[in-house]
Symmetry: C3
């Protein structure tokens, strides 16, 4: 099985084999970050640009560290310092960057489909680092990597996703990915946050969180996306927290060895209590560590194969 | 012919031979960016600082990529995060940076002459990355590089520059550079945008754009410098666009193999139509590509010669 | 004598031997920045993150240059682009960064004790790059390095510190460090800027600047910390400048070979006149140069010893 795609725009478009290839590749890269000398020459002489139109510590830093540990040159462009304050279109920005011969561009943009537009007009590989409420493929891949690492497999898992599914690119990308495996996915949250298409996707909808977490192998909490208007879909943060915040008592209904995931940044006391976030079932920081490995794998598959 | 200058502050001060040396050096570096492994060790162990007091994607990124492909260490400082919010003078900022032993500082500043002041007080090489409406030498050099590449020569060309000549550092630097060659330069634009000194420089002034583009080998469009108040010099964007925006019909009056240039970022539909910007005569993206090569050459001549 | 500490959180906690070890190590690194090829492989494959919640040119740039000259990978995170705009706690930000396996984190934060909190929860080494009015250890170390370099010793020196001692992390760290040596420290400034604990520390308080500078080997000026409210402690800048600004006439009262220090950025004409700042006694720019060496030493001792 070889990688043959130019871009990573979303989980949609990937096969089960593609996903497994990325996870297997990430596994081989994970130990690089655990070495004394965290550096391999794999992407020496490659130029990798992060083009972020939304603020981010985690994702940008994760990609930048992944790239540097593979010896690539990295260039960071953030919206606030970029030419688009002069009114340039995203398309022209992309065409201009392309002319500087980058190998990979990682774009985060509030507009769904922005990475796809870039991919069409660029020879460079494009990675979707999050496009509005649409997709965030590397997040889903690191989530699956973490499930597989902790559970030994993905097939057969009961996965419960709780929160603002409708406005979450993380949830969407995860659902698309998990549908390639024999998983049972349950989504929970207030009705205003559960999109109508879920049942068409074969995802179970369960408004009651107590029932939703029952027998779960994996509980994935989402953050209230205050910056994308999520807060207008619920009466109040307090009510949301009471009804849908994950508490220690919920874990008793799940499988004994349930793992708790969260893409971060967490709103502690809102969607998750400190007790759960910092408890023994939490694999939230493993997700972050695995994020670097998954991004190394992604960069390698897109930019390293033709070296 | 050897390079013997510490700085690159403007085209003023360069001889024809200096310019040709930079273009020839850039030619030898251009292929580095087309390799699989885009990296040469030329500037290993050199420290290159970009000090940008005005926003920029293109120029900062171009310099940073150029430096990294030559293995230099790069440090980015942008005004919004710099000490000058604490009231430090530019001179003190420069002296402080100097004490950290950089090899090259690239400065962009709204104040004409800022790079010259830095060059006087620093041992490091200073490159003017654009100083107000004064000069932008690497832009002019990449423009000449592109003309020479496309036309095989610079001598003998008819070059028409259209737009806000009076407030354009790009136009100024280009005129200074092109005067070293046997070129016929015509400037066009509304009277308020054409400075009185043009005819003294031997540049033809032609208010009518139809006449200005006649027989042109090169048409160089300038952007309306909204951020430097350019907009107050014209009644309206719409009128400007009607009278001075470049349209496909204009190209018929020029030479058959005319090339269209623009320093970017473009205001599409204002100074240039999509049809022209994206048409077969446009070399706008070649300019960007050549920008990296010209900046590699500049950095090499300033910092690499004494290695 | 070997280094055995994970972090550099403050001068408090360092022994005289620790300080001398850092200064000696810095001495051996200083010449790296004076070479043609300013690069040693000492920290190759190490990941160093600067996490700055307050603006800074000097300190961030100094650390970044130090790290790059030792071949480390550097990642810059500034508050304005970080996840904390999404409401993440500093602790969670730290835990997340930790999961990406950095070797050293340099944090600047307005909250005293922020670096100590990070150090407790992270395996990575933490360097305090300035925490509120608390400590700024690398600044004090570069100050001592400069004194030792210029005077051949630290023991026996008369050191006068003038300005807003109460709100200055630089003054605090310097006093802690200098107390390990047989120095005579005098502090001067308006009563509102001199904290009551000074005499307990064995520091002489002298409100009259003329008397304070008498026989000084070293005069260290502090900046008015406008951004930390310093200005409310004095009637006016003009009065402050008249009473406590350092002028050439003051130097006549000090030792003949007195050196003048300032941590920068300077408010010229407020706490120091141009004549003094740029005069022959000033070692202000030496401090900046030595800052890179001291930071290389610090990074080496924290991250290089286990390589």
């Amino acid at each position: 099985m070889n990688w043959d795609k130019k871009d990573l725009l979303g989980i949609k478009g990937l096969s089960r084999e593609d996903i497994i290839l990325i996870l297997d590749t990430a596994e081989s890269f994970k130990e690089v970050s655990q070495r004394e000398i965290k550096k391999v020459p794999t992407l020496r002489g490659k130029t990798i640009i992060t083009l972020f139109y939304e603020p981010s510590t985690r994702t940008r830093t994760s990609f930048e560290i992944a790239a540097k540990r593979m010896s690539a040159d990295t260039i960071n462009i953030s919206a606030s310092t970029s030419s688009y304050v002069k009114g340039e279109t995203l398309k022209d920005t992309a065409k201009n960057l392309e002319s500087m011969m980058p190998d990979v561009i990682i774009i985060r943009h509030s507009m769904p489909g922005a990475p796809h537009m870039l991919a069409r007009i660029m020879d460079a590989s494009v990675i979707n680092g999050g496009d509005g409420a649409h997709e965030h493929p590397t997040q889903a891949l690191l989530d699956l990597f973490t499930m597989r690492e902790k559970k030994g497999k993905i097939d057969g898992l009961n996965i419960t996703i709780i929160g603002d599914i409708a406005h979450s690119r993380v949830a969407r990308s995860n659902i698309f990915a998990l549908k390639h495996f024999e998983t049972k996915i349950t989504c929970s949250g207030p009705p205003t946050m559960l999109p109508p298409y879920l049942e068409d996707l074969g995802v179970k909808v369960e408004y009651n969180i107590e029932k939703a977490v029952k027998n779960a192998d994996v509980i994935m909490m989402l953050r209230i996306q205050k910056e994308r208007g999520g807060i207008s879909y619920i009466p109040s943060i307090k009510e949301y927290s009471t009804l849908y915040g994950l508490k220690a008592s919920h874990l008793e209904k799940a499988k004994k060895d349930v793992i708790i995931m969260h893409p971060g940044p967490m709103n502690r006391g809102v969607e998750i209590t400190d007790e759960v976030a910092d408890g023994p079932c939490s694999v939230i920081l493993d997700q972050v560590e695995n994020g670097v490995a998954v991004r190394m794998a992604t960069l390698f598959l897109l930019a390293g194969g033709d070296g």
